[in-house]
Symmetry: D2
Subunit: 309 residues, 4 copies
């Protein structure tokens, strides 16, 4: 039995994302709802669960900033997989409540914010009430049945709590998506040919030119960056780190080589994992690049045989 | 009378940050509370107010991601100033309620999340209830006086609503701070010698080597970067933009030169403003660098006088 | 009457190259033969002549290294034009001398060196005698008629001195060519759309990373380099300069901009000239790059109008 | 018995340089004078000698350009050592000839060129006569005793041929020096901690940005470049190669790593050798840089142990 912690209660976007993964949804998996992303990560580190599932970017539930800071500065876990879920907001209410009846909407504040145009258009003057998550909002509406009240939440939550969907896909910007990652206390998944690697690069100081040198390491190897973000380390003013995602796997020589040089020449590197990338576009290290590295490595080995003792 | 929109209700961290600015707190300034950051920016664009004040990084109220996306992709406003406020959480309650009485705490979910260690230590088993902002939480506790209930909020909100501070500075990580910016529909403040510039750089495609070229532009001019963040543009997969803050002002030749080359050689640049930097450490373009540029410019002009007609 | 100094005596490769330039061969031009390249440059600096013509790369006559060092370190002249001449060696002798009669060959030592395979094949055991230039060798053979002796030299010299060509094109490597430049005391030729620029970049010290920054300046502007060569400055150990040729003209904004930044950010720049390039391949600054610079410059000017007084 | 070929006849600057090397001057070494640098290299390749000694930069005897082109494009030899010799010109004549008697000076043309100021000052109107090398000039004056004639040459040659030195150190620019290299058909000397490495890097095309990428490889590893020179490959227009010298040895991991990446990412690399550097300033790879590489390599090895099968 594999135990996977996620941000509860049941019906969050996180659970919805998790259930898109066929191999994690079977009978041999137990999902464990936690009160916060911090609790999810603590459970992984404490080995109370085998895996944890947390939102890493653009999530509308839980403090994504806290997740990232925790991964970067506090815990040592390794990313096993990423899952990208399109975010769709649904207005849900108990059977019998029609859209025209709704005077109050309960949800997570960010979710409420994402539907402001819809409210102005379809529910003018509606009162917005905060909940700790969209799933909690759905649960409150389902359990307490406050009059003339709907919740914003996932289709999963509506189904779990027996509510009807009054309006689906009502978010103002329909191109939203959230990136989740599955983490474990240890282990790097074997390369699939379709992988990403995530690292944090710490620097002593914010010197002009550092970014130039870091970028050179990737450019020289034709490694595609998919995320690059500076972040103060909070330890002292002027100290920075960079959170970097790029295509390729630790098992690729060109990636190992890049990491080795970043560590030797730039600063401390924290390895967050190499893992199968989500979506059809995330690429592998191009085979010609990797092949050229192997050929060059053989050449160096041959040259070195000529060194005299 | 200068009208400044901010995220209400009164007593938010935003208002607290605004009130640290002596020149914006006088009798000739009218503060206008808005229901969301989006409303603040819309009021600026619509000229309903002269200035808007929004959280840009690490804020715990309102959706900071929404603010950034709106600035980057939707509205044209110019940053006039940045304000960095240390974030301190206070447990506040009506007079007569002691810490030992508290069974429920109301606040914005992120604020509740930031004090989880304190709750575990001092208020074991407490129920956490969401509100749309910390200021709304304080207002609810002040107006409705729910039994055994405290709010997390600012000292300003406690004072405005007549509550007592039961415990101050209870956030788990005391080094939190939030960056706010003051924006206007137009106008770049004159240089102070202590300025920052913010831009967004759009790219056609996420090619290896682009970051190397962008970084080269700053490295070659010894311009200090204070923030560098990639962001998908949402228009199509593979299109990226970079949100970049750096030291110096549009009026500096070395900065103008850098922007000109970024635009000519890399991609579209959206100028978000040059403005006085917060804090003692944010620097000016070093005078020797700027001086060298002027000397070099005079040299080019002299050389060009030798070109034959 | 335009006076042009060149390395004499008449019949050198330099004169041959000069005569390929139709506009410099007319009746209004007086060619003045000098004893050395140093004399040519001194005559230009002293205004004894209007123009000087010297070998700059791969020349087989005179010390090209001396020419380059003089241009780089000693005199201030501006390149007006480059001329690239294929180098062809001819065995020439007085009428009546056949190839089978030749026992001695006189010429400039580098010319003799370039035909060693021919000598081994066709004139086994021949004695090689040095002269101060190929033209002097031809003159000696023509004037002194030493027995069984031929000279290596240009077809032009053979004609000037009334000798026959016994064998043409006898150099071992037929793809040799020499680059000459025409220099003046002042003046930059107007751009032709097909120009090159030459500079020397001086550095304080040979620090790792300097080349990276210099290369960044050209890469960022998509400027094509045609020559890049480091050279000790001789002033002290560890001091270097770079001799750089690239496509484009001082009148191009993108070139002016690059020079300005090299001077402001890297080190002292000596401008050696912008001039029409030889050959069909040397390119202009691409018009799209130059056009983008102008568009970006207009954008900066517009932005700066928003700076408050 | 070790046989070393050099550019003869006896008494050249090359032989003078060779004799500065104590370990190559003993009784177990046989010096073999050759007629040209090309012959020296051919003798090494053909195993007629064990080692060859040729001028590589700034030499005033033989065609240094030919040496470099031969090393780069034609033969496969490995540099074993570099020797840098200050170049000093001496006016030498048979006993009984005084400075005031001299009406003609014989020497290699470049040597004559280097003493023009001296001739103008001390021997006004002197006739300059070419010889195939400075050593040949000394031999001619010694053997043939032409009247009122001196030679320019080395002190070694004067001694070998029994001539007196009329004036020593008469070159116009006293800071001249020449770099020679000792080459062998195979073998890389063991690292001394004070080594240089020479390579040629071939490129498919002269694209803007290539130099930026190449420079990045060295900058990222803090490797000090001591020479960097572009050179057309002659194979076709637009094809370039770079001749690069840098501090460090093939046995250094940081150097091997750099070479591997240059070959994998930029173009074909021809290895010319790792060898003890001349002079006190040529450096070793800094031990801290090399140490960091080893530490980083161990880190990668440890990380990779976590990859699942």
């Amino acid at each position: 039995m594999t135990r996977i912690a996620f941000l509860g209660p049941p019906g969050t976007f996180g659970e919805e994302a998790l259930l898109t993964q066929a191999d994690l949804a079977g009978g041999s998996v137990e999902l464990v709802a936690m009160a916060s992303h911090a609790d999810v990560l603590a459970a992984v580190v404490g080995a109370e669960v085998d895996l944890g599932f947390v939102g890493l970017e653009n999530s509308i539930e839980g403090s994504v900033r806290t997740v990232l800071d925790t991964l970067v500065f506090e815990v040592d876990v390794l990313i096993q997989r990423e899952v990208v879920l399109p975010i769709t907001q649904n207005l849900v209410a108990p059977p019998g409540v029609a859209l025209g009846d709704v005077r109050r909407v309960v949800s997570f504040p960010d979710a409420l914010e994402q539907c402001r145009e819809f409210f102005g258009r379809a529910l003018a003057g509606v009162e917005l009430v905060a909940a700790n998550s969209t799933a909690e909002a759905v649960r409150i509406v389902a359990d307490e049945r406050p009059p003339a009240t709907a919740a914003l939440g996932t289709a999963l939550a509506a189904k779990l709590y027996g509510l009807d969907v009054l309006a689906a896909g009502i978010e103002d910007h329909p191109d939203n998506s959230t990136r989740f990652v599955l983490v474990a206390g240890d282990g790097v998944p074997a390369p699939t040919g379709h992988d990403k690697t995530s690292i944090v690069l710490f620097q002593q100081a914010d010197r002009p030119g550092n970014l130039h040198l870091i970028a050179a390491q990737f450019a020289a190897r034709e490694i595609n960056l998919t995320k690059f973000e500076s972040r103060p380390t909070k330890k002292s003013l002027g100290d920075y780190c960079f959170i970097i995602d790029f295509e390729g796997h630790l098992a690729d020589e060109i990636v190992a080589d890049c990491l080795r040089n970043l560590r030797a020449d730039v600063g401390r590197v924290k390895f967050l994992g190499s893992y199968p990338a989500a979506g059809p576009t995330a690429g592998a290290i191009r085979q010609d690049v990797e092949q050229r590295w192997h050929e060059a490595d053989a050449w160096i080995a041959e040259l070195r045989r000529h060194i005299q003792p």
